[in-house]
Symmetry: D2
Subunit: 118 residues, 4 copies
């Protein structure tokens, strides 16, 4: 039942307790986010599409990629916090806007895009 | 008060309503995640460290980057969902493990890393 | 017949002529590289595997992705130059090492990895 | 004196000799490229701007990042090859276009961007 705001506060406290805020400027955090997304990519890159379900049905592999997705999330919430962005509110607002931009029927519904461009 | 599990369900419903699940295989979602992280990077890349606070004190800039961070989060929750990963549980478990791996004092506390390696 | 060393010199001159070196610190260049890789990813993310050959047989699409791959290359050579790395020599050395690490037959030849880990 | 076209041919031969082409579809190669850019980012993420010159003056660190930049280049040339893109020609054309788009004087010369948007 993890709440984004509570997890953001926990990651901030974790950073403060270790005096790591001095390393966590926005550019460094985006580099860290890039590094973690790269680790997710490396877990998938050579798995062929037909083999993906079996690959991630394995508890060991699911835990492994879950761990990397967690790293992406930890840096994402920390970056948002450092920038003064309310990630939960921004995400809710974006999804609401996407519902308008991509009606469930009609000519706009032609892509698999989850997000609309500004 | 956004909860990860509820937001995951909302993004899943959004995708199902548009019949977009067929596009949302894990590899395609990681590419989409990469694309959105790239958009965050582009907003920061030429801003000099000293100018960052002023840059993102601007409500327009804060909303702009918040919108891109939201896109990253939307794809992250969708990717976790498609892989059958409980993102909130994985994140809580990772932060707990990091607390053990990086004590608040002592020789391990020498980096700004928020995440521990497996 | 583009040579990496000559192209590196051309990109350096381009940057110096515009007095852009002051923006091109290593971290900013990695963010720019991330942004361009993200643009490549966005061109592929929703194209289904079976549709890829037709998609990029189109001269317009091939030129479009070639333009983004060029952006990745421009930032890569600039980043190597700023770091004092001879990209061509590093690439030749890495490929030679990979030939040893991944024999063309036998038990090591079990992945699609083009690169070996240190 | 590495030439892009010759290196592209060498990486193609390396892949064919190992029967790895079957893994090297465009989406998988972009994931691999993302993974390698992520490794470059990880080498820089916690190094503070003032410490960067000393960090990469070290031969060991320079070789380490050169090795990762080489991995990015290897996947970039392989991806271009698989897509039928002449990377050298695309890069020369893009740099030439950037010279027009960003005159060395005047109002356009206001960013550190190395690349122009289409």
């Amino acid at each position: 039942m993890t709440r984004i705001d509570e997890f953001t506060t926990a990651v901030r406290a974790f950073s403060q307790e270790r005096d790591w805020e001095k390393f966590q400027d926005p550019k460094s955090l985006v580099l860290a986010l890039t590094g973690e997304v790269g680790e997710v990519a490396e877990l998938l890159q050579w798995v062929r599409e037909a083999d993906l379900p079996a690959e991630f049905a394995s508890p060991e592999r699911k835990e492994r990629i879950g761990d990397e997705l967690a790293d992406v999330f930890i840096y994402l919430v920390r970056l948002a916090d450092v920038l003064g962005v309310d990630l939960g509110a921004a995400a809710e607002a974006k999804l609401a806007r996407n519902r308008e931009r991509f009606p469930t029927t009609g000519p706009n519904n032609v892509t698999g895009r989850l997000v609309s461009k500004q």
